[in-house]
Amino acid sequence: MEKLGLISHLGRYAMLLNRTFSKPEKLSVYMRQIFREIDSLGIGSLGLIAIISIFMGGVITIQSAYNFTSPFIPLYAVGLGTRESIILEFSPTIVSLIMAGKVGSNIASEIGTMRISEQIDALEIMGVNSAAYLIMPKIIGSVFIFPFLIIISMFLGILGGYVMGVATGACSSYEYIFGIQSFFVPFNIAYALTKTVIFAFIITSVSSYHGYYTHGGALEVGKASTKSVVYNSIIILITNLVVTKLMLVH
């Protein structure tokens, strides 16, 4: 990628998004691509998300129990703490960071390889808007499927916490279930899903940007892939802070 200043990158990113969301040549082809992307980006990541969520839920439960040593803190707080940690932060943010690594690098290298092997030029010469054809289905697909993945992650994280909490004796089954049912604020789910949608957009658009403007050869594709993960992670963390301030702090 050429050496550009921050403003130039932002300008070029905005122009790419403008091209990406222009009128599709043929809606049916784009719809088919969207379903392919939902399958590839979303369903293909389900296994990884399930494993991470179950184990992280277990670890959060054990750590909560380990820290709640005061006799004044009831043991149901373990379930409550696990639920809040998973819903507010682990599932939407940490899982999105993991997805930035898995999906983001995949998108950047896929589009970058298409660029250096002239496949994007071939699309352009055919009269296809390559940005729209390649990027729009990825963005729409991920914005649609990521919230479902995060809800599954929340469920599995809390389930993993239950299994580990009961298995290790950190808390009883009754205390854990009582904890996860206590003081539930439905708005927290809305907050988590709002973050997820924003992160999904960032992951796919930033990675696509890095892939789309790759120049050179295999080395540059690798660099684009690494850069996309680094920039995605930084942007996700900053956005997380901003969205949290806007939605949770009054």
């Binding site: 040549e25 082809v29 092997s117 002239e118 030029d121 071939a122 352009e124 010469i125 055919m126 009269g127």
Partner: protein, 249 residues
């Protein structure tokens, strides 16, 4: 017919193309030849809109390509086929899907009609029964033929070929050249071939533009190229000692 008039192109402070004009004729293989770095591929990229010239005109049957809007260019490009050096087939699609792709995008043909057209194009380039193979399963020559089939699927009026026989053995090169020549004549396509392969020049060079250091240095036919008295062109044509010995006196 495609005309380029007084085209100039500069990259940074280095001028690559100097005031080049040429007419690419329909139904003929129009070759742009020259040494590496002479600006052949740049001219082709300008003609399809991947690079924009500083000055000059590019006319597709009289329509000024450079003053067209993006939508108008996209519309024109539906009648352009291009054969890239590496084929540029879509890796994630089978040959059949690659050939059907432009039909999917730009036509309302039924699934059966598209399949029939894909089979016709693949058969035309001698790749029948290879429909379900992926590009990674093909040899270099097969990739080029598949890319040619994809270009032909939309019945192009204009065909651009960027070094179509680079990296191929002489026999396969001739097969590709012959295919390009046949489809050009059969479908009355305005074909532009960028090459520095002398077999192509002699075999299919109906109308040749020779570029030397970004300038139009010579134009003529394959019959004239061997008897030219242009020094730089002679050095290019008879580059090897073997060919110099065969040179007609």
């Amino acid at each position: 017919m495609i005309e380029i008039k007084n085209i100039n192109k500069t990259f940074g402070d280095r001028q690559i193309i100097f005031d080049v004009s040429f007419t690419f004729l329909p139904g003929k293989c129009n070759l742009v030849i020259g040494e590496s770095g002479s600006g052949k591929t740049t001219i082709m990229k300008m003609m399809v809109g991947l690079v924009t010239p500083e000055t000059g005109e590019i006319l597709y049957d009289g329509a000024d390509f450079l003053s067209m809007t993006l939508r108008e260019k996209q519309e024109l490009r539906k009648s352009i086929g291009m054969l890239f050096q590496g084929g540029a087939l879509f890796d994630s699609q089978t040959l059949e899907e690659n050939v059907i792709f432009p039909l999917d995008m730009f036509t309302d043909m039924s699934k059966e009609e598209k399949l029939e057209r894909a089979n016709f194009c693949l058969k035309r380039v001698n790749l029948e029964n290879k429909n379900k193979l992926f590009p990674s399963e093909l040899s270099g020559g097969m990739k080029k033929r598949a890319a040619l089939a994809r270009s032909l699927s939309i019945n192009p009026k204009y065909l651009f070929c960027d070094e179509p026989n680079s990296g191929l053995d002489p026999r396969t090169s001739i097969v590709i050249d012959e295919l390009i020549k046949e489809v050009t004549e059969e479908f009355n396509i305005t074909t532009m071939v960028v090459t520095h392969d002398m077999n192509s020049v002699i075999g299919i060079g109906h109308n040749i533009l020779y570029l030397y250091k970004g300038k139009k240095w010579w134009e003529g036919t394959n019959k004239q190229v061997l008897r030219t008295d242009n020094k730089e062109l002679l050095d290019f044509v008879y580059a090897s000692e073997f060919l110099r010995e065969l040179r007609p006196k």
